[in-house]
Amino acid sequence: MFRRFELRLPQLVLAIALILLGMVFILTLRSVPLIIADKNLTSLALLISGLIFYAGVLIIVSMFQSETVLTIALLLPSIVAVAIFVYGFIGWSVRVSLSQWKGLNPDFTWVGLKQYYSLFHNDPRFVIDIRNTAMFTVGFILGCLILGLGLAILLDQRLKGEAIYRGIFLFPMSISFIATGVIWGWLMNPATGNRITGINLIFQSLGLNSLISLWHSTPQPWGMAFTVIPAVWQLSGFTMALYMGGIRSVSEDLREAARVDGASEFQIYRYIILPLLQPVTLSAVIILAHMSLKIFDLIVALGNKAISLDVPGIYMWTTTFDGTNYAQGAAIGILMLISVAILVVPYLVQNMRTETEL
């Protein structure tokens, strides 16, 4: 592996200097905390010192003429960070979920799958969460796919001002779920009678009284269906953009050939473009579904933690940080992870396989 070692004196001096500097910083910081303007920045300084130290190591590694070793050494900080913060923490969460930790002091007493068992067997709130997530997921995916595909086809008609329309349908993507939830909370205000407002007020003044709705305050399970509206508002543009990419990749020659054969525009979409869009639909479904399984901030801002609009993401948050039921919170987090992993892992594995073949 180490075919050659090329000693270059200036670099070696620099490397040793960096290593020593890093070590001195680390040793100093271990006994003297770094406090700037009342902020304890010791660990941040330790991290930077560690990186200085590592930079010295990297210079020495680069003297061994092996590019593979250098590549791995350069990737190592990222790999270690992800290994700890993603995989290590998942493992730690799994361990917490198998304990009975409740209260501020950690308690790792092993109770097996008890937390999971009680979530599924005697926790009415978790049952509501599953029902709400299912309702939201179905509505959200259907809404985004139908609206997204419709918009993509409309914008494929070479109309003037296409770019402006596209910009309008996509801009909600740049806004936070929190801001979206706050605005739509006002638009979908359920007040009636004298206090009628928001979209209901528009319906009333247009004489469309039958459309006046309690929105997300509708009795369950249908109230959850209305939370789909702001989510679709935010992400149908994204779905549209995915479909537009798919439609554009259908060659103009193919369309022209169909036209010569006497196909109508409708038939071209029905028999040529739509079948070719299946892979796009699959990607869109996977991305949208994984978002909806994780849905959290939108519902927080819209529902103000109302139990009828509860989802696992909110339950995990409140039970852990308001109720200090860490073991239960960890179990919910892991269940969320499993549901997302079932969806995403095959997609990632396939992505990796096709790349390796290339």
Binding site: L44, L70, Q157, A179, G245, G313, W317, G333, V340, A341
Partner: protein, 274 residues
Amino acid sequence: MTRRILLHILFYILLTALAIVFLLPVYLMLLTGFKSISQVDLKTMWSMPNNGLHIENFIAGYKQLAPNINNSLMMVIPEAILSALLGSLNGYLLSKWKFRGSNLIFTLILFGMFIPYQSILIPLVKFMQTIRLYGDIPGLVLVHIIYGIPITTLIFRNYYAGIGTEMLEAGRIDGASLMGLYRYIMFPLSAPSFAVVIIWQFTQAWNEFLFAVVLTNQSHWPVTVALNNLAGSQLVQWNVLMAATLLAALPTLLVYVFLGRYFLRGLMAGALKG
């Protein structure tokens, strides 16, 4: 031909109707924001300002959120820049210096982008408390950089994969090292990708809520947490809230309006290769 014209008119009507619905929330925020305080009434939510344009609501909203907007800026700027530098290095190495297992490592990194953060939240909070980076902005910056590694690496890797190896080979013949090739060939070509990644990370971190709410204390709340709190409190009038919401959304909206091209590319990268 007349059929085609009629069809086009129908398309325009459809698109315009949908565009109006899409713009409704922004219209409401602007409308309410510019009304005088005396004119704010739920019954007249949709009527135009009748005694000139006022900006009191925006001033009041800004007063509510100013410290938090500042917190968000302090977090987002270093986060976006450092994320992009790290992602660029990773992307270069994983696209141009493949080794046995490098695709597997990349896939394992990529998985980190999809996980629900609730599944790592308890260890994360405990860890940040242990290393004393809990409660303040630097800790939040670190967390956003680390959980940003997957998407930034992905965007740069795809970008670099599209750059031919001819230039790198020529550079190698001239004796450039692995880092020399990055420094003198790849990095200067990366400006578009840096724009995409910096804008993406800026938008993500600005809009993020979960890490912000569990990792910072009240004096360091970013704008999303403060806005959610404002919306939940009974003390703030809704007209001020509308103005505040617009202010909180404004930075990312402006980025979208002026740099939408780059924002879109980041968005599409999140869909892997489709």
